[in-house]
């Protein structure tokens, strides 16, 4: 069953088509990968889903409800959590406080928020640094904090934006475990944007590839990886594309 559908979603930045009639459906309980070269519009799609940008055209349906013009915080309340590509820790707050601030979205009591926070901190292996100021965390920790925070809002869908970028191999494995756990243990649907193909190809159930804001293809990872246009988009090509206008 589809939890989120984009219907011909379009964003135009002063003439530049950043997102060009993109449509896809994400099923409940799946890990949905969104790939595309730098600047192809992945993060813009995230920003449209939780309404940092207002869509020029098209619709976003979440659990059967049109959320295209809902406010950012309302969308978060409805159950869409997200992480940021450029991490946005609340720097002067401790890790625990960061996560608690998020947990208050569903918990009104202090104790409740603290409990949710400690669960999520534990889930993201941050327990030993939970009293540290978020600004002092290393990158791996910050990335996990982003996830913990998003999870603490108790979402039913989470948008992960380049959660693995900049991590070293051991951190990377840890991140993959956590991401898998989000779906397997917490039962949360995931849309993931990732450049490290090792990650995205391994964990995604389905992948949607875009370039220049428009859809190239969608399908299981192995299929998408073999798709000539995808390879070309990623690795560049020595031949001119025919019949496609990228201007």
């Amino acid at each position: 069953m589809s939890i989120l559908s984009l219907d011909k979603l379009t964003k135009n930045f002063g003439g530049l088509m950043a997102v060009d009639h993109v449509s896809f459906d994400v099923n409940e309980g799946e890990i949905f990968g969104l790939i595309g070269p730098n600047g192809s519009g992945k993060t813009t799609i995230f920003n449209l889903i939780n309404h940092y940008y207002t869509a020029t055209d098209g619709k976003i349906i979440f659990k059967g409800q049109d959320i295209t013009n809902k406010k950012t915080f309302e969308i978060a309340r409805l159950g869409i959590g997200r992480t940021f590509q450029v991490v946005k820790p609340l720097r002067r707050l401790s890790v625990e406080e960061n996560v608690m601030a998020a947990a208050f979205a569903r918990e009104s009591t202090f104790a409740g928020a603290r409990k949710v926070a400690s669960e999520m901190i534990d889930f993201c292996n941050l327990t030993n640094v939970s009293n540290m100021k978020a600004g002092g965390l290393p990158i791996g920790g910050r990335k996990r904090l982003e996830i913990a925070r998003a999870l603490a809002t108790r979402p039913s869908l989470i948008l992960l934006d380049e959660t693995a970028a900049g991590l070293n191999p051991s951190e990377l494995d840890e991140a993959i475990d956590i991401i898998k756990g989000i779906r397997d243990k917490l039962g949360i649907t995931i849309i993931i944007v990732e450049h490290i193909m090792k990650v995205i190809m391994n964990i995604s159930d389905r992948i949607h590839a875009i370039a220049f804001g428009a859809t190239i293809t969608e399908g299981p990872p192995a299929e998408v990886a073999k798709h000539p246009t995808v390879i070309e988009a990623y690795l560049g090509s020595d031949y001119k594309m025919e019949g496609q206008n990228y201007a």
Binding site: N168, L235, S237
Partner: protein
């Protein structure tokens, strides 16, 4: 020409480069390839002095230039054409070019160099009085490259010049890079457009998570399966 020895670099408390070493010989085109966040741009930033290294050294023609102020680096002959072009949008094309030649010899030869750039990029001559922010992406990239050339660099560092350009323009940019190299300028290129760049570069290094994992000539790496894995995860 340019030698990077065992450098570590961190943004505040987060380390992004781990023991990176590589070399660019005179007259070469060397490419750094790798996924987003692998540390390619960070390497260029350390060389151009925008970021300080915590370990290792960077040598230009035998002289250590690590942690030298960026304004000094450009005078020593290394120029960095940054990712996303970073033009001065509220200045004209010609003013942007002038900004590339603020010091020393480059300043004296400014007018000649501008003419040379216009021969290289005739499009820019037509638009010399136009504000850079109003140009198309391809034209902006031309300005960025030309602005880099204005300083008469020994080494030209380009950070993803093909980013956001249509394939036709990508090929144009690459052929321009080749012709600049033929004029005797050493080139250090960062690219995601692996297929094309590996075909024309002399040598390349593959980065993963802030470390160099592979090196070799372009042709060698093109055949290497690891490259594909690194990018496509297959």
């Amino acid at each position: 020409m340019l030698k990077v020895n065992n450098i570590d670099m961190s943004y505040g408390d987060l380390q992004v480069l781990w023991d990176v070493s590589f070399e660019v010989k005179k007259g070469e085109i060397v490419v750094l390839v790798g996924a987003n966040g692998a540390g390619k741009s960070s390497i260029l930033k350390t060389i151009s002095g925008l970021q300080k290294i915590s370990k290792g050294s960077i040598e230009l023609e035998g002289e250590n230039i690590a942690n030298v102020h960026p304004s000094e680096i450009i005078k020593r002959g290394i120029v960095h054409v940054p990712e996303g072009r970073r033009l001065f949008n509220e200045m004209t094309v010609e003013e942007n070019l002038i900004m590339g030649s603020l010091y020393g010899e480059a300043k004296q030869k400014r007018n000649e160099t501008i003419e040379e750039c216009y021969t290289l990029f005739p499009r820019l001559k037509e638009r010399r009085k136009q504000l850079a922010g109003t140009l198309s992406g391809g034209e902006q990239q031309m300005v960025a490259v030309a602005r880099g050339l204005m300083s008469h660099p020994k080494v030209l560092m380009l950070d993803e010049p093909s980013l956001g350009l249509a394939p036709v323009l990508v090929q144009d940019i690459f052929s321009i890079i080749k012709s600049i190299n033929k004029q005797g300028i050493t080139i250090l290129l960062v690219e995601q457009n692996v297929q094309s760049t590996l075909t024309f570069c002399d040598r390349a290094y593959v980065l993963e998570n802030g470390r160099i994992v592979l090196e070799g000539t372009g042709q060698e790496l093109l055949k290497n399966e690891h490259v594909k894995t690194a990018f496509l995860g297959i």
